[in-house]
Amino acid sequence: MTVIQMSDSALLVQWLNAAAAGDRDAFERLYAATRAKLYGVVLRILRRQDLAEEVLQEAYLKIWNSAGQYDARVASPITWMVTIARNRAIDVVRRRTETSVEDESGTQDVAADLPDPLAAREISEELQRLMACLRTLQPERQSLVLLAYRFGLSREQLAVKLGKPVNTVKTWLRRSLLEIRECLGA
């Protein structure tokens, strides 16, 4: 499976810029290089292949239509693209009924799919800094943030997952996120 390396970033930027000018071939190459990452992201949020395929299409259309607005000085190409895809996936999942994770048919075991943040892997300096800040939080709050990101869970769903009241989850989330911001210093 292709993993996006840091050195590939320049290629992605080039393809994005070319796509902004209407270059479909470049856009197809961009798709080939990034599709598995984006699909992985949206599939875990939507938990259904048919929805994930539809959202993947919509994400790439949005990327195509707004490639001209991509600014390499502000974000790396893959994070820009993942953010677009993720936002779309959460739009869709929030529009559906607010069911708990367990009600979804074909749901994976949420806990089992959680990666070990400490596992040796090639991660960017950016993620290293973020993980270092996450680790300053209590474990339950770390889980909150990671579960929310990975599975696109709402406060209600997180509350069910953790067996806590929704307001507690809201407070924990906000405090944790503000502490992360403090820690990152940016």
């Binding site: 499976m1 292709t2 070319a18 902004a20 000018a21 209407g22 270059d23 479909r24 197809e28 798709y31 599709r35 598995a36 990452k37 699909y39 992985g40 599939l43 875990r44 949020i45 292949q49 395929e53 993947l56 299409q57 790439y60 259309l61 001209g68 893959i78 994070t79 993942v82 953010t83 993720r86 936002n87 959460i90 739009d91 929030r94 529009r95 607010e98 990666p115 943040p117 892997r121 991660i123 960017s124 950016e126 993620l127 973020l130 943030v145 929310a148 990101y149 990975r150 696109g152 869970l153 709402s154 406060r155 209600e156 809201k170 989330l173 906000r174 996120l177 503000l178 911001r181 940016a186």
Partner: protein, 245 residues
């Protein structure tokens, strides 16, 4: 929490995705109305974005790409405009001794990334000067050379080199071609940097700027010595309006 922290918290939860449906819609509406809030959201998205590296890639089915490709939308020359542009080009060709083979191979590209075809006739009409206009100067549909952005407010333009190769001992010169002028007007040589910005459109009315054809020819260093294009025209395009950022 303070009001500032409330906004920050809302932006953070929006980026993370934990807001419920109605709050999410409210936040989206706020993003559109409130640029400062939108900036908070974008900052939060950037803060947490690297978490995607923890998510294992999954190959989507092969049938997805053709569905995307089919939906990339109208990327085509508009027949009505094509006729007008061809007339301009013929006139230009006569005036500047364009190479016949190259003139025949020029394809016009009008990007419709942001608009549906139904909107296009309105877009091409003279607009209030607030607009930002873009032309993709292309050889054909897969060879963008330059992106020309025009700001009608300041009457300046920026040329961004995208695919055009630097040619040794040659300069690229930008021309404005319009029915109203017997000859193309030079907008100057495109510099070696990625971006060239110039106020050279100050003398032109918005209507001219809007409806002109823009072209790039290959000239001796420093541009054409004669005031008309002496070398082959390699990239051509017309302006369309893009939505403001």
């Amino acid at each position: 929490m303070t009001e500032d922290e409330d906004r920050e918290g809302l932006a953070a939860e929006y980026a993370l995705g934990t807001l419920d449906r109605s709050e999410r819609l409210q936040a989206q509406s706020l993003i559109e109305r409130d640029a400062a809030f939108a900036a908070l959201v974008r900052a939060w998205e950037r803060r947490i974005a690297s978490l995607h590296e923890l998510i294992e890639p999954v190959e989507p089915p092969a049938h997805v790409w053709p569905l995307i490709a089919a939906r990339l939308g109208a990327v085509a020359a508009i027949p009505v405009e094509l006729a007008a542009v061809r007339r301009s080009l013929r006139r230009w060709r006569a005036a500047s001794m364009l190479s016949g083979a190259l003139a025949a191979s020029l394809l016009l590209f009008v990007g419709l990334r942001e608009f549906s075809p139904a909107l296009l006739p309105q877009v091409l009409q003279p607009r209030a000067p607030e607009g930002r206009y873009v032309a993709v100067l292309q050889r054909d549909q897969t060879s963008p050379g330059f992106i020309l952005t025009v700001d009608l407010r300041t009457k300046s333009f920026t040329v961004r080199t995208v695919g055009a190769q630097r040619q040794p001992e040659r300069s690229y010169e930008l021309w404005l071609v319009h029915d109203r002028f017997p000859q193309p007007h030079s907008l100057g040589v495109i510099g070696d940097d990625e971006f060239t910005t110039r106020a050279a459109l100050a003398a032109y009315e918005p209507e001219i700027i809007n409806t002109a054809t823009y072209a790039v020819s290959v000239e001796p260093p420093g541009g054409s010595p004669t005031g008309v294009a002496t070398g082959p025209v390699v990239f051509v395009g017309k302006l369309i309006e893009v939505l403001p950022k």
